[in-house]
Amino acid sequence: MKISIDNKSVEVSRQMTVLEAADQNGIYIPRLCAHPELIPYGGCRLCIVEIEGIKGYPTACTAMVEDGMIIRTNTNMLQQMRRDLLQLILSEHPAACLLCDNIEGCSMFQETIRKVGVTTGCRWCPKDKDCELQRIVESFDVHELSLPGLYRDLPVEKYDPFFDRDYNLCIYCGRCVRICNEYRKSSVIAFRQRGKFTTIGPSFDENHIDAGCEFCGACVSVCPTGAMSEKSRKWWGLPDTYTKSVCPLCSINCDIQVLSLRDKIVGTLPPGKPHEAAGELCVKGRFCLSEMVNRTKRILEPSYLFPEGEGIIGWKEAFKRGAELIKDAGKGKTALYISPYLSMEEYSAIAYFARSVLKSSFVTSSCLDYNNTEYLRLSLRSIPLDKVRKSTSIISLFLNGNYNYAPLTMAVKNAASSGIPYYQIGWIRDSTSRFATNSIVPEPGDQVRILDDLIESIKGKSTHDPVIHQLAEHLKNEENALIVIGPSLISLSGMQQVLDRINVIIDLTRSKIYAPNPYGNIKGMLSANEMKPVEIITEKVEKGDIALVYLIGDMPFSERSTDYKLIYQSAFPAPENLRPDLVLPSAVWGEFQGTWPGMKGSTARARKAAKPHDYAKLNIDIINSMSAYAGKKGVLESMSKKNRKITGKFIPHLPVRESALENEEKLNGMEKLPFILISERSPHTYMNLQLDRAVEGLNELISPCYLLINHSDARKLGISGGEYVTIADSEYELTRPVKIRKNIPAGVIYITDNKSVIGFKSNPCYVNLSREHV
C-alpha cells in the first residue's frame, strides 16, 4: 500500500493504524492513551490528523491506513486543536510543575515557597521529569491555563503495598485499566461511575489485594502521569543507568532491567522502554528485588567469634582465619551447604573450591530434601514456556500463581481466554481460576484418589465424575494437552504418590508437563556440582562426623547442635543463636554479573548494576582469595579463559538416594470437620532470606504468620481481621490471628508457614475453627 504522510510518500506492508504507519516512518504524532500492547482507544484525542476525503479530524490511533491515503499530521489547525485539548486536560490536572513562574530558575536555585531559608524546590509529583504529559505540554509551549482549574480532591490511596495512587493527577487515558484487562488479563481495576465523577479502582471500596491484584506493576509502568508511583522509589527521580539482567528468584528467570542511580539499585522493570513495557513479571521481580538488595539488615563487614565474643575483622584477617579453619578441619571433614540462588560462575568456582581446597564431597543444599528432589525430577520434564500457549487443553494441579510464576499464569490465562479448555485442581483460587472451565476442590486426602480415577478413566474405565471423564478425554486424545503443576505440591501429604500418578499419566498419554521451581538456579547448582541429599549430610553433622560447616548463602539449621566450626558466607545475617565462627559478607544479585540457565532453554546473562554493598565481596572473589590463603591456586586462575565463559547445556545431576524415604502414606479415613486447612512452604526466598518476611509489601500480601480465611466464612462466624482464632482437629490445635482474603475459597484456611502446622495429621486436613474467647 502506498500512502502519503506529511507529503512523504510511504510504503506500508500490512493493515495498520495511521499512528503505527507514522511511527514506522519516523513521524511523531503526540499521544497519551495509545500503547503498542493495547487496543486503540481514542481517548486523549491528541493524535488527531487530517486525512483527505475524510470529514473532521480522525484520531490516528483508530484510523486504519488505506491505499492512496493522504495524511497530514502537523498543520497549524491540528497544532492549535492539540493545544486546546491540552488545555482541557490541564484544567483537571494540577500543573504547577509545568506552569510555575520560577520553572527555569528552580532547578538552579531550588527556591522554596516556604518562608524559611531552606532550598528544597517543590517536589510534589513523583513523576517530575519522567512524565509523558509534561513532555508533551513542554513541546507545545503551553505556558498558561486558559480554563478555570478543577482540583478533584480525591484522597491519595496509600493502603495497598508497593504502589501509591493519586487519582488527582489522573487524565483518564485508561492505560492502567486496559493493560490490566487486555494484557495481564487480571481486570482488577475498572472505570467506576461516569462523567466528572469517574474514578478508577476495584468494585465498591475494596482494596487491591482483595480485588485479586497480582501487583505486577504493569499499570504503574504505563501510566503517563504521576497518578501511579512506586512507593520504594517515588522520590528518587530518574534513574541514571538501565542494566540488562535476569531475575534470580524462581526457575523461570525472567529477563528484567535494573534501574540504578549513583551506583545504587533503585528498582526493576521488565525489559523494553521503561514507560511502555508492561512485561510478564510477578510482584517479586517487579518490586521486591530492589528492596531485597537494599535491605538494611545486611552483613556489612567480616567478623570472627573470638573467645571473648564476636569482633569485626578485616578481609585479610578473615581469609587467614578461614584458611586456618579449613586446614584444621582436614580432609573429608568439611560439609559445604550452598544456596540454589547463585549464578553458574559461582557454582563452577564452588565446585573447584570443594574439590581442591575443602577436599570434601559433602556438598549439599538445604533445598535438596526428598520432596524437592523428586519435584525437581518432574520439573526437569517441563516443556519450554513459549509452548504453553500452544497447548490444546490445560490442567493445573495445586497451582498457586497469585504472586508467582507470572509468565506461566499469563500464558495459561491467554490460552484459556482464547477458548482452550482449562481445568484447575487445588484448594487455592489464583489469578487463573476465573478462566477455568471447571474447578475441582478435592477433599483432604483425595488428592491421590482423583488422579487414580483419572488414570482409570484414561485406561478406559467409565467414571461417574463427568469432569474427570472430560479430563481423561483431553489427555487421551490430544497431542498437546498440558499439565501444569504448582510447587505447593511439595508441601502436600502424599506428595510422592501424586508424583507417581502424574508420571503414570505422562507415560500413558502424550501430554506435556510444566512445573516451575521456586529455587532460582537449582538446575545450574546441580549441573556444576555433584551433590548429596541434605538429610545425609545433616545427619553426619549431627553425629559429630564433621569438623567444619561452610555455608554459602544457605541456612540449613537455625542453631548449632554439636561442636563444629562454622563459616558463614552470605549477604543476610544468620539467626542469632547460630553464632558462626567466621562471617563473610557476600554480594547479592545485581552486584555482580553472571549466567542463569533458566527454564526457558536459553542461558541468560545478568549484568552488574551496582557495586557491592559496603565491605561485601563477590562470592567468587571470596572463594578465590580463600583458596589462595589455603595454599591453593586461586579459583579464577584455575579456570581457563574458555572455562570462565559459561555456555552450553546444563545437565543437572540429581542427588542419589539409596532408598525411597517415604512409604505410602495413608490419606483416607479422616474425620470430616467443617474447614480444610492447607499450608504451603513459603516459595518466596532468596539465599537465606525469607522474602515474605523481609519485604514489607510482600509480607502484607503473603501474611506468613496469619491464617487466611474467606470473607463469607468470616462474616458467618463474626470474625474480623486481626482477631485470634483457634483451629483444631482431634489431636492438635493452633491459635493465630486471621486475615480475611477473597482469594481463599469458602471453607478453606490457608497458611504459608508449614512449620507451625506440623502437628496436624496431614496437609491438607480437616479442622474446626473457633474464635478465641478472651
Partner: protein
C-alpha cells in the same frame, strides 16, 4: 396472578454465562430487593466469569443501578432544563440538608432515599418532585416540609 419473585440464585441460573447477560442480569438482581449489594456483584462476577471490578464498573456507569438499600419512600428531584431553571437545584439542596443525605443515599432510619432525575416529562409543571408514584408540581422550599410529612 403475579408471578413469584425469583431469588437471586434463581435469577443467576436463568442467564447464560456470557458477558452480554450482564446488564439484564443486573436489572433483575436489582428488582429483587431494590439495590445491588457487594454480595450480588460477587455472585454475578462468578457466574459470568468476569471480575467484580468489571461488574461494578458497568453497573456504576448507569444511573438506574443503586448500591445502597432504598428507603421506604423514594424521592426524585427533577433537574431537567425546565426544572433546573425554576429552582430544582435548590429543592435538591434543601432535601440534602433536611434529610442529611446526598443523592443516591438513604436516611439512616430507612424512611427516604434521595435521587436526582434528568426529566420526568412534565416540564410545564416545573419544578417537579416525585415521591414514590406521586408527582408534586410547582414545588417550592416552603412546601417541601408538608410534602415530606405525608410519608411515614
Amino acid at each position: 396472578m403475579k408471578p413469584k419473585k425469583l431469588s437471586f440464585l434463581e435469577i443467576l441460573d436463568s442467564y447464560s454465562a456470557e458477558e452480554s447477560s450482564l446488564i439484564p442480569l443486573l436489572q433483575d438482581a436489582q428488582d429483587e430487593d431494590g439495590y445491588i449489594s457487594p454480595e450480588k456483584v460477587e455472585g454475578i462476577a462468578q457466574h459470568l466469569k468476569i471480575t467484580e471490578s468489571q461488574v461494578y464498573g458497568v453497573a456504576s456507569f448507569y444511573s438506574q443501578f443503586r448500591f445502597t438499600p432504598p428507603g421506604r419512600h423514594s424521592i426524585s428531584v427533577c433537574l431537567g432544563t425546565a426544572c433546573h431553571v425554576s429552582g430544582g437545584e435548590t429543592l435538591l439542596n434543601t432535601f440534602e440538608r433536611d434529610l442529611e443525605i446526598s443523592p443516591g443515599e438513604c436516611t439512616p432510619d430507612g424512611r427516604f432515599d434521595l435521587n436526582r432525575v434528568a426529566c420526568l416529562g412534565c416540564c410545564a409543571l416545573a419544578p417537579v418532585v416525585k415521591i414514590d408514584d406521586d408527582i408534586y408540581s410547582k414545588v417550592n422550599v416552603i412546601k417541601l416540609n408538608d410534602i415530606i410529612g405525608l410519608y411515614e
